[in-house]
Symmetry: C4
Subunit: 250 residues, 4 copies
């Protein structure tokens, strides 16, 4: 058994794929992340989710689970290379009593198109409020600059280093659809239009954030939520999201 660890096995529902004593194993990390996200209000009422990719294997939180109670046994596993037809998705390992998440094709898009190692989906109210505020001016792009926390984001796909303080962080917004899987096309379009973004907002719904590693996806998701909350508070106080301060103010 020990020698098969982390290798897809032919029988027994491949439970070895989600059993590990290593706290950094994806099947242990996803429940830990989801507990944290529940506390942050990101995955209220079974909303939202998270997925980690380890080489060719993708680990996924199931649909409809109470995120703060999730266990490694609840995790789905699939092999990225075998997902030829998204309509005929084959799972190497399925939990006995859940359904796959409708977020799956969106997570896969982050893994295949952006080589992400982790993708997080939240229903954060700050993200939703930002999309609602942008809707009033028919905008599909969130922009903010001259806030230190912007430095928490990478410059973009296959680029080195992080954004600078004076750079403008741009997060595209796509329109929501009745079925979450149907977001995939417009998510991929947004990725093409903004190749350096690490996140896509979904109007009246939430956000997808990814990163090369769990660390980067999670800290970028935190930094974004910080900026969305700040942006909503700025709006309440009549403060603009964009400014020009490349010179000393006082």
């Amino acid at each position: 058994m020990a020698s098969q660890k982390d290798q897809p096995g032919p029988t027994d529902n491949n439970d070895h794929l989600i059993k590990s004593a290593d706290s950094q194993h994806p099947a242990n990390l996803i429940p830990e992340l989801c507990r944290k996200f529940w506390t942050l209000g990101w995955v209220t009422g079974t909303g939202g989710g998270a997925s980690i990719r380890n080489d060719d294997l993708v680990y996924l939180a199931p649909s409809g689970v109470q995120k703060e109670l999730m266990k490694p046994e609840d995790i789905y596993v699939l092999a990225l290379s075998q997902q030829v037809d998204p309509k005929q998705r084959i799972y190497l390992r399925s939990p006995p009593s859940f359904k796959p998440s409708q977020c799956t094709p969106l997570f896969i898009a982050a893994f295949t198109k952006r080589n992400a190692g982790c993708c997080i989906h939240t229903h954060s109210q700050w993200a939703v409020l930002v999309t609602l505020l942008l809707e009033t001016v028919q905008s599909d792009l969130f922009e903010i600059n001259n806030i230190e926390q912007i430095k928490g984001f990478g410059k973009g796909f296959q680029k080195q280093g992080n954004l600078g303080y004076h750079d403008t962080l741009k997060i595209p917004v796509i329109e929501n659809t009745p079925h979450e899987e149907d977001l995939t096309e417009s998510l991929e379009e947004a990725m093409n239009k903004y190749p350096d973004t690490y996140a896509v907002l979904v109007r009246r719904h939430g956000i997808y954030v990814w990163g090369e590693t769990v660390h980067k996806a999670k800290t970028q998701a935190e930094s974004l939520d910080y900026l969305f909350q700040l942006a909503v508070e700025m709006r309440k106080l009549g403060l603009p999201w964009l400014s020009d301060f490349s010179f000393a103010l006082l």
Copy 2:
């Protein structure tokens, strides 16, 4: 003793009804839920409560208890089939030092009229604020649509599936009464008028939410609270709760 587990016993205050090593036993689940609800600000200062039905047995949090400190020994148990006259309620098991909750007939209404398996009562400030905002326009119905979190609700009593993104979630509001038990009639009227609702708001008081299972009652309560908080923030930002976006916006 072990063979009598979960069977009403004739003697000894039936303490076996609330003693179980199973974390999913109602007498263990109610305290765990209440601890969580206290952290969410739903059951501040002994307000609110929760009840679980297991076939004919109903488990109830007592009145006046600090919800984050509740223990299985604090739980009341009654048999649903024996509640002929609500004024002469008979408890199979009573805790030594508490009083029954005035919420009891309202929980029972959810169990008998809607076949619920769990009913949650909160004093959430977001729920109260929504009822206050509706009061200013003399409305007794909360309505919101085109928000993803709406999909967290079932379509209704004896119906399959969940609400869709474009569906309008409608939660009736009843007026508060000096004595909580006196809410029962208007709660039942609201259930009759809105047979598919899983919740009833109580003006200037809070909300009752139920579901077929503990899982559904709890996640629907979370999703509702999310929507109420969002609605209050939307109001602060001048954003309407209802919109017409069955077509692509941009």
Copy 3:
């Protein structure tokens, strides 16, 4: 030693007064309460405090301690009957490295004038904001009615039962002084003017809340903070704190 438990001892700094395996012993309860209050934002940065009276013995959190880190060893103990001259307060037991709290005479006022068993002092921002809003209309009385949570308060000193839903909760406000001990006189005046109140707001400072038991003081403090937060949010939304709804609205 065991037989001396909870009896003032003549020697050894009376450490037996604050050592007990009973989780309900005041020296264990005060740190537990203070940890909870820190999480609620009531005792930020060493502000606020708590005291429990057990017959003639008074247990007090010290001055300047980080409340979420407090330990039983940090507790002061004094005998109420021996506090003839407040300027010459004698402690039966003092922690080695702290100073007595300036709140002490205010806690004692609640114990001697109202026979309280516990008194809690918080710097809650909601309490402070309410006093600031009242200041703009030169008011020294917070009033709110027709909110269910009001039922969380007792009718008053030596009275049975709790306030009703339609009763108006009245909490007097006293002006702050540079030295906390100097609040004692005006606190006692407020107690005389409003003999049934269980709390006194201190302008631009916070609140003192008491109750016959730890349970009542703590749940009344929670209910008050709930109402203050609600009142601030109501103000932001243009909703009045007082209304006349002794009849059915709709």
Copy 4:
């Protein structure tokens, strides 16, 4: 080994400098503080940091770490007396997989110019919002008075006692720079201009707070954040930050 404890050792990366069974050892305290700060929203997404000085040794959180997951092994150690040229900083002990924090010279400024024992850097949104509100009136000084929590601050460098209730707390604001290290000069200028301040706000970025001890730095950081949050809420409610109440109001 035991005899070398807390003494810089010549070999083995000096891991003995960060290994201690004492919970009050800086290498244990910094992770504990950072966990707390993460929960408070002060160090979201690897932002912010903390440093403790013990005589000549300075312990530092690394750059880019998830603060709630930090471990003693992640800590940098340097000797204050050996930091002749800030561009050639020499660490007695470095963690294997992190980079030094850009905050280091700012922490060192607090240690060398103010003899601080601990310095905390947060990205608190309340601090950022206060700097944004001040920016609209081109102000580089936050001022508030007549709030009890002001008494949580020391009177100033090499002075005894704390501020009084009627004293005006003044916190200077410096402009942010693209590279955090470049803040050092203006931070030191602010220290010179306001020699008694224990904190410097950084526009659109956050705050640096220090104190003679860990206890004082941490409680002053808490009290400041309390005041910034209060100030933002006061602004939403139209309440001024400064007032003149050295006489009884009512």
